[in-house]
Point group: C2
Chain length 117, copies 2
């Protein structure tokens, strides 16, 4: 129920951001809301994390952005590039491997059900 430990998020933020942009372009503020909603309220990622991360992902080519004005307010809308989609697939498989590896150390006796996509 408590919030997720920020340190644990390290190295997973990219996957999170690419993932919410998979099916529709969104602007930063909406991305934060989507993250909160999808996680059932467990994730409340601060703007100081999200905005720099989005710029970083754009810089490396995983995202592209353009400005729009909606209701008098300016938005920078991000969308996944082809490169970003590829990266997302990689992040997903890395995530599955990661949970498998850590899980195998943390709970050696646990029968892990890895559901296929």
């Amino acid at each position: 129920m408590g919030d997720v430990n920020p340190d644990a998020l390290r190295g997973h933020m990219d996957a999170l951001l690419l993932s919410v942009l998979e099916h529709e372009p969104l602007h930063g503020y909406a991305i934060i809301e989507a993250l909160t909603e999808r996680s059932g309220g467990a994730l409340s990622v601060p703007t100081g994390t999200v905005y720099p991360a989005l710029r970083r992902l754009e810089r490396v080519g995983y995202l592209a952005s353009e400005w729009a004005t909606v209701g008098g307010r300016k938005r920078r809308t991000y969308r996944l590039t082809a490169s970003g989609a590829k990266q997302l697939a990689g992040e997903r498989s890395a995530w599955r491997e990661f949970t498998g590896v850590i899980g195998s150390v943390l709970e050696p006796g646990l029968r892990r059900a890895e559901a296929a996509g």
Copy 2:
């Protein structure tokens, strides 16, 4: 397969270390080997990560250590304290929550089987 991304380990190292010490005291070098073995070779945590982390965990009271000489070589053997055992339980539940939360964002449609301990 590939090694786990070091950044992803952030915030999980404590859980990993406490976990391998759960049932038996071990010295640093053996801890690294245990981590590698339990993970099926996927984890190769460098000494520059493990030794400082062990000291940190001792400093906060989760571990206790004592020196021993075995075969002419000096070892610092760490064991889990009561406080550390408590912390390990917390880390495990945090891990389950963490994977649930990230998983729900990364793979919203996936049926997740959360096996009970």
